[in-house]
């Protein structure tokens, strides 16, 4: 009974019809995969199709089908010799690929010049929690999925809740404890429009208080300063108290502005004005920071000075919540932003206030999005994110920004990283060379000159395209390069161990030989002509 079930199974799986169905299914998956790759990049296609169980299961079924098809046609018949060789080759490729998948290594090593390294990064996402007090590092592999995955895991008291393999940030306004201003604006003219958010809140880490758009510089300042900007002042100076958040002009408080021997303006604030025992003085055209009685910079003082004169040459826009100031046509203009947009003196631009708040601050919250690729780069969804919970608070950790959590004397650093391992020997890049095609900046070749430090002593090697380095089972290939901040070049080598390689190569060779045997030598090709009477040729 058992054997009859097996033989039935063997007959079905080894049958031609089953093979055709499998091949067509396999083809359909691949077609979908290539379109997914085109729209969302290679990793998306891998996470959705190529490296997932349905597709891999299908490959396993194909393997069985090929195997049983060969078994069914035993004992050997002479006319099927080619067929046996082809199927043996296919089976070997299957086995070789399995070995590569199971025990192969495919990673990369990043080398900067004269900086030894042995760390190989693998293409596997992990969450890394570093308990700085204990000095322990916890690592956990994240699932290779294409969509949001709920994890419900806990490491060192930190709950890991969600993993987003593809995400983008969305700005949200979050209630905060301390009061600091933040605002969103829309800058537009007939052709373009751009919204931007500026904040002075310390919790709004991703948002700055200044911004440059083309030639225009935008400064977001505390709201009370808006009134002082609007006040007429011959000296064009504003004095600002960081503690009381108040401001005044020298003219208002009748502070005399004098000139030094070298012609620089300077002024001094009396103890009455500063409210302390110290007299402070400013050289407003050089520094906003006051000087003490010994003419040394006095940073602890709450007073700062701002000279509007410094902002008259280039386009500068000062924003104070719903007020704005700028210099145009020889005068300083101040306006209040109402419901209607306010016109600016540059290229027909208008400005509109979208939101202003002191009790809420802008923060970025990751959300899942299917990736979109354009010209080989992800333009959407290129960020990975995990949601963690610690002591009742939720935090987002992204691969761009690790999170540091401090509770009492405990400090935890959580990051999203790639898993890695250390090579048994050390590498140094001694030189990176890039040749360009004559008269252009297009690369013609990339070459890395490296030095290996092994137990047998150091040795020098030259790695370039189509010329990898093989050393103790590892193969190193020239993969990419980068330019560091100092203008020097670094190199990226891909590191590879493939124990399945010889089996796959043997399989490929058998298939080619088998096909020639089966289709060309065995067939009627050269033995006899297929002449058909009455057919015009």
């Amino acid at each position: 009974m058992k054997s009859s079930i097996f033989s039935k199974f063997e007959k079905t799986v080894g049958g031609l019809k089953f093979a055709v169905i499998l091949i067509l299914l396999f083809t359909t998956f691949m077609v979908v995969g290539t379109f997914l790759e085109s729209s969302g990049g290679a990793e998306y296609a891998n996470r959705l199709i190529y490296k997932r169980w349905p597709f891999m299961g299908l490959q396993f079924l194909m393997f069985l089908s090929i195997l049983f098809a060969a078994f069914l046609r035993l004992p050997p018949k002479k006319r099927l010799y080619g067929f046996y060789v082809i199927h043996t080759g296919l089976i070997l490729i299957g086995i070789g690929s399995f070995i590569t998948w199971y025990s192969g290594i495919d990673g990369s090593i990043i080398l900067t010049r004269n900086d030894p390294s042995r760390q190989v990064e693998l293409n596997e996402d992990i969450i890394r929690i570093h308990d700085t007090n204990k000095g322990t590092v916890y690592k956990k592999k994240l699932p290779f999925r294409a969509f949001t995955t709920d994890l419900n895991d806990e490491i060192a008291g930190i709950k890991i809740k969600k993993f987003l393999p593809f995400s983008d940030n969305q700005m949200e306004w979050k209630k905060v404890e301390n009061k600091f201003p933040s605002a969103s604006y829309l800058l537009f003219n007939d052709n373009i429009s751009q919204d931007f958010t500026l904040s002075l809140h310390p919790q709004a880490k991703e948002f700055e208080s200044t911004l440059t758009m083309g030639k225009l510089n935008i400064h977001f300042l505390p709201t009370p300063l808006g009134n002082c900007f609007a006040k007429p002042s011959k000296s064009k100076l504003i004095i600002w108290n960081l503690d009381t958040k108040t401001c005044f002009t020298p003219e208002e408080k009748k502070v005399a502005i004098k000139k030094s021997k070298r012609g620089s303006r300077f002024l001094a604030l009396s103890t009455k004005l500063t409210g302390s025992k110290k007299i402070i003085s400013f050289f407003p055209d050089f520094s906003p920071i006051p000087l003490d009685e010994k003419l040394q910079p006095f940073r602890k003082s709450p007073f700062r000075i701002l000279s509007k004169k410094l902002f008259e040459e280039k386009p500068h826009l000062f924003l104070f919540g719903n007020k704005l100031s700028y210099f145009s046509d020889g005068t300083w203009e101040s306006k209040t932003l109402g419901k209607d947009p306010s016109s600016l003196p540059w290229m027909g631009f208008n400005l509109k206030l979208i939101k202003y708040s002191e009790v809420e601050a802008p923060v970025f919250i990751p959300y899942y999005t299917a990736p979109i690729q354009e010209s080989g780069k992800l333009v959407k969804g290129g960020q990975k994110a995990i949601l963690v919970e610690y002591q009742g608070n939720e935090y987002w950790v992204t691969d761009n920004a690790p999170v540091t959590m401090i509770a009492g004397d405990k400090k935890m650093i959580i990051s999203l990283a790639k898993s890695s391992f250390l090579l048994p020997f050390e590498f140094t890049l001694t030189k990176f060379k890039m040749d360009t095609n004559p008269g252009t900046m297009d690369p013609a070749s990339y070459e890395s000159f490296v030095r290996l430090f092994t137990t047998d002593g150091p040795s020098s090697h030259h790695i370039y395209m189509n010329n990898p380095l093989k050393h103790s089972g590892f193969t190193f290939y020239q993969a990419s390069y980068f330019q560091d901040n100092n203008g020097g070049y670094g190199t990226v080598l891909s590191v590879n161990i493939d124990p399945g390689r010889p089996i796959k190569y043997l399989g490929a060779l058998l298939i080619v030989l088998g096909s020639i045997w089966h289709f060309v030598i065995r067939s009627e090709f050269f033995s006899r002509r297929q002449k058909l009477a009455g057919v015009p040729a």
Binding site: V20, I192, Y477, D498
Partner: protein, 503 residues
């Protein structure tokens, strides 16, 4: 850019008429460094003026002369001479005040509007693409007329240095008259040849032979002689000529580029046509079946038509390769076997289409149907074996240069898709699933997968590591091809069905 103040040469004749200054047609012989490659000025002028205006001649001047005069604009104000651009997109015509043709000087004045329209148009549509093209054309025009595009060689201590046209001459040179400027240019060429040799001039000679046009003529005549007039001797002689011409074409390109001629769309189309003719001829010879030669010639003619007339899609220009492809061994084994397999599969495609048309609109006995499906089957066998060989070599090359045998890159995946589709057809034919009447139209349709792997990955998917050959208009070509093929199969299918019903 400097405009010379004293120009005795031009002072009396600043307006353009019959004056070509020193821009003689034989300047095409000058060496030129462009796009990372040394070539005769002729090639640069042909490619750039073609992309600027599409015209072969303007006011009776050759493209080299036009290029020279445009470059001269950087030093002398030549007001009356300008190129004009044909505006094809209706929306750009509207943008430029309803003009269908506009001179580049006018276009430059309206350039801000073009750029603003480009910035304002957020969607990626044909309008945006057309605007992008106009912007590219204006930028090329600016580069030429600023005298930056034309690079001239200077011999400095037995080495060649390149400098742009606008800074090559001194004011004194110009004041001596056009003959002297012409002599300086000729001297630059002689100096260059004395250091680097004159190999680059071969390309000029080669291009003037117009080998692809002659090959198209001989292959078409061979087909006509064989099919229409049944003149076997004439047909075979002409086929041999075609074959030799294509060998000359490929050998010349190998000599110029110093690599296997299979590195861009033009060359793969060329090689597949050549391979199909070679295979068709060989099969016809060994199996004593002329039909293989007909198929080879038919497909060869199609590829030559593309090479001669679809130059926007398959550009004949030779450019430097990306570093990873710079390996002649792998190029000449992996790519040639893949392209050869496409050629073999194309033979099956041509015969399959001919058979379904014959069956639907003429007569086809079941004997003939069997005979043709055997021929198709033979072509498929060759195609599949060479394709598999090519895929495996590709895997080994990828393993050797990237460290992986298989990586699901779109180009390699599609080659496997093609393989699987044809293998499924072969397996289906073994069982009773696919009788001949189905087999033939299915083979015709299966060629769409080849087109997708060959052109579609580059023109439609345009992603992945095999980043060569991306070009405009390819998606349109491919879409039309798909549509026509599917319609042909449907029409013949219903025609045959209705014929059967009426009997």
């Amino acid at each position: 850019m400097k405009i010379f103040a004293l120009l005795t040469l031009f002072i009396t004749n600043l307006s353009f008429g019959a004056n070509i200054f020193f821009c003689n047609p034989d300047l095409e012989n000058l060496p030129h460094l462009d796009g990372g490659r040394l070539k005769p000025l002729y090639v640069t002028a042909e490619e750039s003026i073609k992309s600027l205006s599409g015209k072969a001649k303007v006011e009776g001047l050759t493209r080299t002369q036009i290029y020279c005069l445009l470059s001269l604009k950087s030093l002398v104000p030549i007001k009356d001479f300008d190129l004009s651009l044909k505006i094809e997109h209706v929306k750009i015509q509207e943008l430029l005040g309803g003009k269908k043709s506009i001179t580049y000087s006018e276009l430059k004045e309206n350039f801000t509007e073009v750029r603003m329209a480009y910035v304002r148009n957020k969607e990626k549509n044909s309008y945006k693409k057309a605007l992008e093209k106009v912007m590219r054309q204006v930028s090329l025009y600016n580069k030429i007329t600023s005298g930056e595009h034309w690079q001239l060689p200077k011999k400095v201590e037995d080495e060649i240095e390149w400098s742009p046209f606008n800074s090559y001459f001194s004011e004194k040179d110009f004041n001596m008259g056009p003959e002297l400027v012409y002599d300086i240019l000729q001297k630059s060429k002689e100096d260059f040849i004395s250091v680097e040799g004159n190999k680059y001039l071969f390309e000029l000679r080669f291009l003037k032979w117009h080998v692809p046009s002659w090959a198209l003529l001989t292959t078409s005549l061979a087909l006509i002689a064989l099919v229409l007039f049944k003149k076997v001797g004439v047909g075979l002689t002409l086929s041999a000529f075609t074959f030799l011409l294509q060998i000359l074409l490929m050998a010349s390109r190998i000599y110029i580029s110093e690599r296997a001629p299979v590195t861009n769309m033009y060359e793969t189309v060329m090689f597949s046509g050549f391979g199909a003719l070679l295979l068709g001829g060989a099969l016809a010879w060994f199996l004593k079946e002329k039909i293989y030669l007909y198929l080879g010639l038919g497909y060869n003619m199609l590829t030559l038509l593309m090479m001669n007339f679809a130059t926007e899609l398959v550009t004949p220009s030779i450019s430097p390769l990306v570093p990873v492809l710079r390996d002649n061994f792998w190029l000449s084994t992996h790519v040639t076997s893949i392209v050869l397999s496409y050629g073999a599969l194309a033979l099956s495609w041509i015969l399959a289409n001919t058979t379904i048309v014959k069956k639907a609109f003429f007569t086809l006995s079941s004997k003939e149907e069997n005979y043709y499906s055997k021929i198709i089957y033979n072509c498929l066998k060759f195609g599949i074996v060479t394709l598999f060989f090519g895929i495996m070599l590709g895997g080994i090359w990828a393993d050797y240069s990237w460290g992986r045998f298989w990586g699901w890159d779109p180009k390699e995946t599609w080659s496997l898709i093609v393989f699987c589709i044809y293998v499924a057809i072969l397996h289906g034919k073994y069982t009773s699933w696919i009788p001949n009447r189905v087999f033939i139209p299915v083979v015709a349709l299966a060629f769409l997968s080849v087109m997708m792997a060959w052109f579609g990955v580059n023109y439609i998917l345009a992603a992945g590591l095999h980043s060569y050959g991306f070009s405009q208009g390819g998606a349109f070509f491919l879409g039309t091809f798909f549509l026509v093929q599917i319609l042909l199969v449907l029409i013949t299918h219903f025609k045959i069905k209705s014929f059967k019903l009426s009997n």
